[in-house]
Subunit: 147 residues, 8 copies
């Protein structure tokens, strides 16, 4: 069985690479998609359409360009992994989780114990909560296994 997995959230640690490499090393037939994760490139996604004086509109233009990629990736995926790190507010990750929930796309959250209470609504609509990328890889291996 093959799976398409969307990876949402934190961009400051290498959790994506850990999951992708973990799946590759086990030979799983899984393809991954993601928002553009290079911070500067993502923030500048709309800059080519003309400069803006106000921060709001610069951010707005980039966010809407990025949304093309993100919404397509979520609509096309079989499931998502939504990662919350210790820093920053990461509202985009929670937004993606809500988007998945409304579309009926199953997702797994990936975060530490200390965020349990703050993420209870996001976890409540998730299919599972993992604390390490390795746990996610194991779940994925199970999901695509032959029997």
């Amino acid at each position: 069985m093959s799976y398409k997995v969307y990876l949402s959230g934190e961009i400051h640690t290498d959790w994506r690479q850990q999951i992708i490499q973990g799946c590759e090393s086990r030979g799983l037939d899984i393809s991954f998609s993601s928002a553009v994760t290079v911070h500067e490139a993502s923030d500048a996604a709309g800059d080519g359409l003309g400069a803006e004086d106000k921060q709001f509109w610069r951010d707005h233009k980039s966010a809407k360009v990025n949304a093309i990629r993100i919404s397509n990736a979520i609509k096309n995926c079989d499931m998502a992994i939504v990662r919350f790190g210790d820093k920053y507010r990461q509202w985009n990750a929670a937004f993606d989780a809500g988007f998945c929930a409304a579309l009926g796309k199953p997702y797994i959250t990936l975060h530490d114990d200390c965020l349990i209470h703050a993420l209870k609504e996001v976890d409540g609509a998730a299919q599972a909560w993992a604390t390490t990328p390795e746990q996610v890889v194991e779940i994925l291996e199970y999901l695509v296994s032959d029997s």
Copy 2:
């Protein structure tokens, strides 16, 4: 024209009351819905179903009971107002915004300037960004006006 408006997010200031009273004082035909906003009651929503030793499962049970109310309210609304305050992570508000976006429910964000960059994805899918409850009331008055 009558409107059903879902109010999502921050529960530590009186922004809901300001919007509701502002609409009432102008005689607008708008009904409002919301999650249960009494913090302790919300956290205890699932307690009647049996005690839990682990924080995760207590939160989980309450979050899933609350989700019945929230998802019904969003599915039944014409639009939502999503408020982000200065404190806490408020991932549930971002989750609601993503849920609205996926369902095609229009929403307006309500937050200060200092959150512009952190909320760019949430604002990018919104129909408007307001900074005060009074602005929201004015938009609502406009939306339900006769012509």
Copy 3:
């Protein structure tokens, strides 16, 4: 707030009456729907359309007449309560739960501890698991409360 609640499952105990009367005694604005719960009438739902020699077709005709009522009720409800008793196989209750899950209709299961393992898939897609009608009434009161 008003709610429409579909009551699915066991017809041999008075759990429906307990929930309905519990809500009435608390003055909740909740309307209930249900399949026809008179066993003989339900089994004979299609008899007026002509007699059948084979049990399969008699059952089939009645089941499809009943399905008109059930599918309409589920599509129109805000949420469902799905009850599993100790006797009989009650596959119709599990079928209703799956129907709710696919439509995104939230439901609460109502069953004893001894059925936990057998019902794990049905509980896994539920928003809550209750063991008494009184617990269900409390959740409903919470869900339709003003704040």
Copy 4:
């Protein structure tokens, strides 16, 4: 013509193998999907995410991991075969049937005569009722035939 068929239900007899081998021996272009059918592995699907003291939560975690696989398989299939054996309550099979019905996915039930009355609602929403795997293979051969 190629078909994707989801096989739901009983895991204690070899009905899946009979159908798969029957289709292979006739050279039919049909791919099959299924939940994980190794009982112990299925019950332990969520164990890697942390141990649980209570049976309910252990089952819950595993059931929700399994639901990722099952819901994806049903959403991607052309049709399902839903098997009910003589033992156990098999509520998951009835749940899958309801899920199919709500999504408009056609399904065929596979069970003995003695279950006719108990399964009348599940059969009522099915496209056909078969009593042997061989009958199912014949229907599948017919469905994917050139004319």
Copy 5:
């Protein structure tokens, strides 16, 4: 319980009146909708938009005006009754049945024995087949009964 029932098909006998009066005499809370059933008015529905030389375009304009009413009525109904008489080809009735089937709207066919083979696909997607308006009234009474 109240029901909205769409009445489709034959316009040359009084089956609609029999059903409506039968329901009224039993005090059922059922509202009925229908295409315009005055043959000349229906054929002339588009005439006010300008005369046409070709029969095809005159029919086309009227059919598309009528389709506004019919598609709205079907989308808003709880169920439909689809009547096939002995005369004429009544392709519009079969079209309505297919429209209902694709939307998941339950319908009951109403026709004589002699049409069984010709209507097998239409009956195959129906929830029931009746031969008299009185049978339909009985089913409706059952469907909206209190328990």
Copy 6:
């Protein structure tokens, strides 16, 4: 029968009033919705959310506020009338028509002969083409008639 009709397009002539008054004078049970049709108010819909230096963003903010009202009105209507006048490009009217078409909402266009070729795609997805408000009123009277 009652109908909800959305009136889209030209704001420089009194076609809306003619249709509304025509329906009132015939006693039809039809409610009408519309975008805000006061040109200056519509252009200023977002001004209360803060001034903009660039024309694009002022227009953008107002258009997105107006879109809340318009998309809700279209989603809630039974049908739409889309009017194209002789002046201006009226791309918003064509946009509304496309929006209706994708949602399966029937609409009638209202325009002069001289626009036939330019509007062929918009007319192609319409249920009818009218040239006068009086024709529209006649169609509406027909659609909501008792039989």
Copy 7:
């Protein structure tokens, strides 16, 4: 561009072959699907599931097996051709057309002039009306052309 075309209706003339061969001879990248068109095989589709005494149930079982194939084919197609011949009532063809219409699948009707009035509702929801298979081939060639 490649297209998937469902061919519905009459099985007593070779219109399917004419269209398929016409497309092949022009080298068009079009795949065709269809119900089983061997009359006896189609009528006997359910016979393997057990004999029936009543004509209604024999037809019912076969019709529902055939419906698996037909509904899948329509849901997967880009468009349909719906053919009405001179003989028989062909209600299944009109049913398929209604099914397409409700799903938003475009279809072209194929029939003689003499059926214009009887088919006005079916033609009213069609994208085109053709009188010969050759016309259909020309339209298909146009639809899949490079520009």
Copy 8:
């Protein structure tokens, strides 16, 4: 990542070729679809189905044949580019934009500064506004990039 992009609107300049060649020269895995853009062929799309005396019906037949291709292309695309030139009313482009908006298909508009006010509703529902084909190519390159 691969993308399917629908190109809508103006047919009198070479903006399509610029975008397609720009993507090819950068080696992007993007496939493009479009309406038939040869003006005479498009206007004559329905001519093979029989001559018409009235301009309206000739246009109507061609528009509805073209709509088969256009609606399929939009439903199958990941996103659209909607181009408005300086000449003509181009209502079909605005219609396509509304169609995309209702389906949740993201689109980018491509037009000059002088059309900002006239296109504010169309731009309001767009994910971005570009003024040159080169800008569109840059956005597409960004969207399909590996990270």
